[in-house]
Symmetry: C3
Subunit: 143 residues, 3 copies
């Protein structure tokens, strides 16, 4: 059993955003999978996906501050400058965090830990809308 | 052919730990898969999974020292402080390293390189036991 | 429908290299998959895989400069020194970037974004040839 969809997410501000509910809302088919995997892929090179704490918003704000420190704008050795000072750091952050996540499916639900959620990581100042390709596969529930 | 299990790993000290054998021990079904993938997912946001060198323990000790340097405790801009000074760095390290790994299966065995092993990365001082969801899929061996 | 191949890539210079075309060339079966996933795994602990910008080569050069800065050679606390000063940083970069990528397949093609490509990240000075295990799965096209 395979199910694949392309989702368009509205533009989000630079930073880290919980999108678990937005993804699950588009997947009514999830409830029919007994055992499987959900793969979420972002079709961009200046935004990324990760899984982290789903409760306290200061975690997501600290993510933004940490990655801005760890991957600075205007490093003296950058040569890729044409698209603005936030562009090259965005590419680097995207590869550090990754362009896909995958989550086990069990008894019709994402089998995340109690404190886990899926983050869209928007690394550009004006990233605009973002496209995801969501691919679900597994064994169907019977009955 | 799908097979999914939840494993509970006993509490490990802060640092990087080889867990390949522990995972494989729980998967007698692996020997029946001719071509497939193993997905290992950790249901926590302050521990992570990665694949690296399986031989010299100083590699794993250097990992711990490097990540402590790269993701410091008590950064002046952290706001998420309620759970101790090791908590926010643990969340960051978990996203840098990732919450899942996937490995090809070939002729009934994990098709890792000769020097590769699966690491549990424990980023908390007292992380306690950790839960993994292991999902195996593939084509079965015949005969 | 499963298809798995081991590919040997010729030795590449230290740095970041686009290998999307090289992978696709070895996968004529891709055109027969209507919905699926491609998993690419590198069997080494001092080289890695990531997805990023496929156009301007200065992006890849900036990647090399950034990661050399972020993961230095000869850090005073490294204990794993036997294989040269480029070895321990290579292990660390490999885990930060990851040993596998996975990409959705749609209508017989990799469903990458317009600007995305697959990078081989060679972190050693003389890494030699590198082995990949490529695993493709999905629903076949009919007719």
């Amino acid at each position: 059993m395979w199910c694949q969809k392309e989702l368009s997410l509205r533009a989000k501000s630079r930073g880290f955003h919980l999108i678990t509910d937005e993804i699950v809302q588009h997947l009514p088919e999830l409830s029919r999978v007994s055992v499987g995997l959900l793969h979420v892929f972002i079709q961009h090179t200046s935004a990324s996906l990760t899984i982290n704490e789903n409760a306290d918003p200061t975690v997501r704000a600290d993510f933004e501050r940490f990655f801005n420190q760890a991957v600075p704008e205007n490093a003296p050795y950058y040569q890729h400058l044409d698209e603005g000072s936030d562009d090259m750091p965005a590419h680097l952050k995207a590869s550090i965090l990754g362009s896909s996540i995958s989550v086990p499916i069990t008894h019709g639900r994402l089998n995340l830990g109690m404190w886990q959620g899926i983050y869209l990581c928007e690394h550009r100042n004006q990233g605009g809308g973002r496209r995801l390709v969501v691919t679900m596969q597994g064994e169907g529930l019977t009955g």
